[in-house]
């Protein structure tokens, strides 16, 4: 096994692709298991959105926390799962308890604060950067608070990973449609 592992460690994009495929297939499997309920047409969009997020999360977790964009994606995914997953119901229960015990106003304020963790939007001065750079900042996750040198670095890495992701997903689709 070790000689066959060597070439993949030599080529970083190849390694990333392998790991991404591994994680993404696992995530798809999990989604399949979770979504075994009889599917109706309304949920197609939601499910495809879930698949997309799974793909992004898999790529970000492969890259890890060493990159700013992957950190941003992971943070977003975690927040999303916190907002939409099981934690929401528990928090709502907690809020209900609070509102029952203490005054309503205080609980509402705390919820609003938690729902709106907008980080340092003021740093993004629209007059400092050109239009293209602003657009690029909107596209690359977590790029709102970088300087332009960092932005270029992160963009390069993001493009690499995104291209690898698209390639792997294409092969997956090809395979699934042929069988």
């Amino acid at each position: 096994m070790s000689p066959s592992q060597q070439p993949s460690s030599h080529n970083p994009t190849c390694l990333i692709k392998n790991r991404f495929a591994h994680r993404f297939v696992r995530a798809l499997n999990n989604l399949n298991i979770k979504n075994r309920s009889p599917h109706d047409e309304n949920q197609i969009y939601r499910r495809s959105h879930r698949v997309k997020i799974a793909a992004y999360a898999a790529m970000a977790s492969v890259v890890g926390s060493k990159r700013a964009w992957s950190r941003a994606v992971l943070w977003k995914v975690r927040n999303r799962s916190r907002n939409q997953g099981l934690l929401v119901s528990s928090r709502r229960k907690r809020v209900d308890c609070k509102s029952k015990t203490s005054n309503d106003h205080h609980a509402k304020v705390s919820v609003v604060r938690r729902r709106n963790p907008n980080p340092k939007r003021e740093d993004l001065d629209p007059f400092r950067y050109s239009g293209q750079e602003l657009k690029l900042r909107k596209l690359v996750p977590g790029a709102a608070t970088m300087d332009s040198c960092c932005l270029m670095d992160e963009t390069a890495d993001y493009i690499k990973c995104l291209a690898a992701q698209v390639e792997v997903m294409k092969t997956l689709v090809d395979f699934y449609t042929t069988t």
Partner: protein, 273 residues
Amino acid sequence: MDPPIINETSFSAANPSSYSLTGIWTFSSFNGGRNESLGLKMGSLISRLGEPNNNRDEESTVTEHSGGARKRRDANSEDESSKLVSTSSGNDLIKLNGKRMKMSGSKEELGGFSKMDREGSSGSASKGGVGQTHKPSEPPKDYIHVRARRGQATDSHSLAERARREKISERMKILQDLVPGCNKVIGKALVLDEIINYIQSLQHQVEFLSMKLEAVNTRMNSPVEGFPTKDLGPPPLDAAGFLFGSQTARQFGPGSQPEWLHMQLGNSFGRTT
């Protein structure tokens, strides 16, 4: 008026010929008479600049030297047209000065000379100040490693800004190599446009592919809907193995081994399911 001339010429012509200790001494003491701290700093700077390479010294001495020549003209209206003559005379005077230094062995005397110089001609002293302020702008080049070309600004802010811009353009080049069809595009704005379009197309592709995958997934999922999860595990595992077995040679570069991938995927799914 003789001592000031000796002092100036020895200071100006100290570098091009053999750089002797006396040159440093005279210079530092000359400054020390006027301003103690500055003189010490300049002396250390000159000693640092003077020893490692001679080219820089020649650069710096040209300006200093011309200043010295001007001063001398101011001081006693002596015509010195060619610099060569003045350097040679300066060398002689250095020797003289060195002898005097050996004889006296004290800096105070030379400090007194510089004081005399200042009293004699205040205009020349101010010019000497101008000539020396040119000098501290050079040492930062030594540390930041940014070479300013002719006509470029040399203060620290512009140097840092230039370094930053060079860094950004370097990254832009890397990005241009990454994005297909971006090498022919000229201009930063157009390159950025191209990059943005590429990223958007990739993200759209991801969206489209996820929709496709979702459709395929549900279609594949529906026949085995009734089965328990243990039976649900194998098909994707098999699928993944087959997929990479068939396509790695083409898609995943020359180095990857389909058998290994198959094994790993198989192991992982054995673990997960």
